[in-house]
Symmetry: C2
Subunit: 678 residues, 2 copies
């Protein structure tokens, strides 16, 4: 594996024009969207210092090698050797085992675009060689079936996750090609996709995978190769949801669907429960397969699958039009953001035992499932909605989920992982690895992508979606190349300085997202609100001169001017501590409040309350908190300090820490929503 020069970060920062030049030199397709904004890939964004810089270093130095170690130890790689006959031990894991390895490699490939590491490159190369060696002559490449019987390789698609494996292989292959310019892995992905395209599709076999993923991955493969068959196949798989694929092809009808047999006679509680859940799973659309996607207007079922599905649907609108998809997406979004999302951006309750969405407003804090993968899926979806529509409300949810529900999944040291992320706990610590490795490998691959969420581009617009220290080189549709350097301590501090350096003076809109939290609302719905919705004035200066802060309907301030090298924009988003209330229909949060500052949700953790009966800790009716930076605590955080009542009555000093940072000290209780005295 050699790295393409264009992706060497040092070359990039040294040479403003490298990107444009390399885009010309590179043979790699990058199909433009039909509609919406142009993605700014993380390869173009170097996050340094601030909040994310150290985290990405930890990711590179700790998380990635740790993940590969764990996966190798668990047999993810020898499974491929077994497929080629070079390993004679037992097959390990389950049918979706490959996907975890592909995700971890994808994470490594992102990271290598910023942190060159010859040892890691060599290691990735070695694993890739072993994976590719197992590819079958027809293109098929999943170790489980190569070992367990290729005659059954496409059986039971709704249960066996074949295409989920394939999708993660495709995503990884695209990043390998982006990093190295080499085509061996990408071509293997194409051969696999071509094999699928020869089996599935109109006039061929009609079926869908039970776990969505391949759909968004096929869009990526289309973008990287320019081959519209992959986009058509993605569309086919999306359109096929909601149908029954047996001897007949017909719409799924819950009334005539085969329900699990109701147990009779002496029935144990467990049998009864199993029947009930099986029934609910069927009824509740666990796989988002209960009706055609264009008819899905309520978010149901497994939250990770849902997030991947909705992501693929948004991609489909952006790259193909796909009439009917957007109205469905709009309703699904309103349903999730308005009725089914935790304050942390987490999604999925324990209600139906299906890792999925519960009923509207039913958001219990203890049994909040909030799978780390679901938070990741939510970030991917919100990012794509923002690319499709260019509206800040999607970035609001993306940011909220990123800093809270998602980041809580991984320890500050980078080697501990949560699968579930409830909003209250008696005490729990992250595992160093999880055998069912979807979450750790997903966390390993999402963080190095964060740079790609920061910006997006229109024909003559640069959108700043997130505030994060670092530099980016952007290319507008009309050809102008612009470098932007952000200096900020966000999210600890709301002051952001943006140095704008166009290749040559040119006219474009610099569009700054004014976060919802800075305008007095924590989420773009009425699901949560600040006790005090009066937001302090936001400051904005261009080259030292004050400018009005007038966000357009899209939620961005459009700074329209002829930009020239040396221009500096200063944005100041005041960050008061906010008391948050939930919608009155959220019974779980009745009489409780939460604390936020900027995009961060805070929690209280028993470690900060020695000698206090933590469960009986409440906030006084006039709770008052202020921010106190603690550079030495939990990797450097700003805590909130204020007043509380111990034993529901005695005043004590209260400390709240960012929710994402909980469970990084000793094991102890935690809560986000705290009872407040009337």
């Amino acid at each position: 594996m050699k790295m393409k020069s264009r992706l060497n970060p040092h070359a990039m920062t040294r040479n403003l024009f490298a990107l444009g030049l390399c885009l010309v030199l590179g043979a790699r397709a990058d199909m433009p969207p039909l509609r919406g904004l142009q993605e700014v890939n993380q390869a173009q964004v170097e996050l340094r210092g601030g909040f994310w810089g150290p985290r990405l270093k930890t990711q590179s130095a700790v998380t990635i090698p740790h993940a590969l170690d764990c996966l190798e130890a668990d047999g993810h790689v020898t499974n491929f050797d077994k497929a080629t006959g070079k390993f004679v031990g037992p097959l390990k894991g389950h049918h979706a085992f490959d996907s975890d390895l592909h995700k971890a490699l994808e994470g490594a490939l992102y990271s290598l675009q910023h942190f060159d590491d010859p040892k890691l490159r060599q290691r990735v190369d070695g694993i890739l060689d072993r994976i590719l060696a197992a590819q079958q002559p027809d293109g098929f490449l999943i170790s489980y079936w190569i070992d367990q019987g290729l005659d059954k390789k496409w059986d039971d698609l709704r249960l066996e996750h074949q295409m989920y494996n394939a999708g993660h292989f495709f995503e990884m292959a695209v990043e390998h090609n982006r990093l190295t310019g080499e085509t061996n892995v990408l071509n293997a992905a194409r051969r696999f996709a071509d094999h699928m395209d020869g089996i599935f599709g109109p006039g061929r076999r009609y079926d869908v995978d039970g776990h969505e993923e391949v759909e968004l991955a096929l869009v990526k493969l289309y973008r990287a190769t320019g081959e519209p068959r992959y986009l058509n196949l993605a569309r086919f798989f999306l359109d096929e949801r909601g149908y029954v694929h047996g001897t007949e092809h017909k719409l799924f009808d819950p009334k005539t669907a085969v329900m699990p047999v109701k147990p009779e006679g002496k029935v144990t509680q467990e049998q009864q429960r199993e029947f009930w859940h099986a029934r609910l799973r069927l009824r509740n659309g666990r796989m988002q397969d209960h009706k055609p996607v264009v008819d899905q207007h309520r978010a149901v079922g497994h939250a990770v699958r849902a997030g991947y599905l909705y992501s693929a649907m948004a991609d489909m609108v952006r790259f193909m039009g796909a009439p009917g998809y957007e109205p469905a997406l709009d309703d699904l979004w309103s349903d999730v953001v308005g009725r089914k999302m935790y304050l942390t951006g987490g999604i999925g309750t324990g209600q139906y035992d299906d890792e999925g969405f519960g009923d509207p407003y039913l958001l219990p804090n203890d049994s909040a499932y909030c799978e780390s993968c679901a938070a990741i899926a939510n970030v991917l979806w919100q990012h794509r909605m923002n690319l499709l529509k260019g509206q800040s409300r999607y970035a609001d949810v993306m940011e909220l989920t990123l800093y809270n529900g998602l980041l809580a999944g991984i320890s500050i040291a980078g080697n501990g992982f949560f699968y579930e992320n409830p909003l209250v706990s008696d005490g729990n610590l992250r595992s160093s690895w999880i055998g069912l490795a979807c979450c750790p490998s997903n966390l390993e691959r999402i963080l190095p992508q964060v740079g790609g969420l920061v910006y997006s581009c229109g024909p003559q617009q640069v959108y700043v979606n997130l505030y994060a220290a670092g530099e980016a080189t952007l290319k507008l549709d009309k050809g102008a190349v612009v470098k932007i350097a952000q200096t900020t301590d966000y999210p600890w501090d709301g002051r952001i300085q943006l140095a704008v350096t166009p290749e040559q003076a040119s006219k474009f809109d610099l569009c700054l997202r004014i976060p919802g939290w800075a305008l007095g609302h924590p989420v773009p719905s009425d699901l949560y609100r600040f006790a005090d919705s009066k937001a302090p004035a936001i400051g904005l200066k261009i080259n030292g001169r004050k400018t009005a802060v007038s966000p357009r309907a899209d939620g961005y301030v459009h700074l329209q001017r002829r930009w020239k090298a040396g221009d500096v924009v200063e944005l100041n988003l005041p960050m008061p501590v906010q008391i948050v209330h939930a919608h009155e229909q959220v019974l779980a949060d009745k009489g409780k409040v939460a604390l936020m500052r900027g995009p961060l949700v805070y929690c209280i953790e028993a470690a900060d309350y020695p000698g206090v009966d933590f469960p009986r800790l409440i906030l006084p009716s006039k709770a008052s908190f202020h921010a106190v930076p603690q550079p030495g605590l939990l990797g450097g955080v700003t805590v909130l300090e204020g007043n509380a009542l111990a034993d529901s009555q005695h005043p004590v000093k209260a400390t709240a820490i960012p929710y994402y940072a909980w469970a990084n000290r000793e094991k102890g209780a935690m809560k986000v929503w705290i009872d407040q005295a009337p």
Copy 2:
């Protein structure tokens, strides 16, 4: 051109098993539908005697050679010679000129499947050679642009009908392959389609043709070749309707659409009119391009285009699923059949000067546009709806349109053609040809296809949709081969005998359509009704034994039994003369009635009323008519005789002839809807 033995009708009738055998031997793909019924191609159905036998003979002996003569004389063939440089005269006609020739050839190819004619074969071969010689290296094949400038060949797609030409070429090519087994023309069609697929599609160029046709043709090409790219491309073109395809790709918005500039200053009436119509065309969705097809719930715009579009949409549901299409189709169908269709099955009024649909219930008889092509499009659509849903109501509309609105377009002698088919006239005669030859060439190609409308098959069902003398060899999905011979004088007589001869005794449903008119309703909506809705009893016998007539919800009587050779079914549909009223909202028919018998709509024609002031002829309040066969009149018709009032008061003998047969004598006035004394 050699004919494949399987398509020689004599071999077919001699050998029951020929079809099955040849389906095995033939290399030709015939992709099965994903849902709905299997089409029984006209090649499998030999219509002999009865109503259609003589007509198909006339078609073969008169119409086809006549059409080719006229097209050759008008320069349709030399246009291709000009493209190859073998002809130096001027290019003739317009950009859609090729399509007429393709349609006429398609008609000849259908006909040759039943009437072998070496001279015609040779002639078709000769023309095809000249067409194929003009194909460009990239696959492009439209004479107009080859001559006028290949650099502009895909410009102004919404106005120039490029794909309309291509679609008719594809349809013709498929029939050439079906008849001959040769692949030269089909391969040329594939090369042209591949060329289009390389230019249009996701990530390529997004655009649509202004005149739908290519969409249904690409489905045919897919069915004939098994190549899913053609189906995907058809879907792409369908999904792209409703978008603006310029520098941006966005939904068409009538509010911001560029309207024609309103003429100012001294404006002539004509200018004013032109502006108004241009505006209405835009607003009224002339090309069904005003919103995505899944959002189209009201039938608007050019009726031929609409019919072809809806046909392709029904195909798309049948062959691809296409979520969202079926609800739209259901609403469009209810809108057309319930509010916008003439009693003849004709569609399109003169209201917007766009050959298109008018407002609901606005069905003026004099300015009824009812283009022959629109009736053809309606038949194609209803046939496909029936194949999709297996419900007789679609066959009801298909039959009504076929015998009335469509058949009126062509003279009994087979060499006269109407473009418009109003329901009242001061007198008009069919032209021997029309320079804008869409209608004559379309009529030339639709009649030889009628056999293909008669039957359809389910897995274990034979559906009889139309009653027509002749024989058919059908193959059920499960493999059984069944021959059915109909003996009937339908539509003059409602007695039909069906001799059922399965290859070996086998169990299946013989499903007989009980026409709506035999159950007391002329159309499957409340748009028209019989004055007397009490229908006489229908007779049904199997091998001489009476059987109950109990149509299922699908409108068919399912005769479920183990059929064996020699089984005979006799159906007797009594055919009283019916007085028809229109819905009270159809102001044009207020105080008027029409006459029907069986599926035939009747009219009165001045030729039958010598010495009577035709315009003042009315029917008495108690009009009474009876059927009188007139074998010598108008190619053999049954007329209706009854009583009328001349000068609005004096009793006279009245005669009505089938609407389709009008204008086959001297030029004279005609009307379908006749004033009735209160």
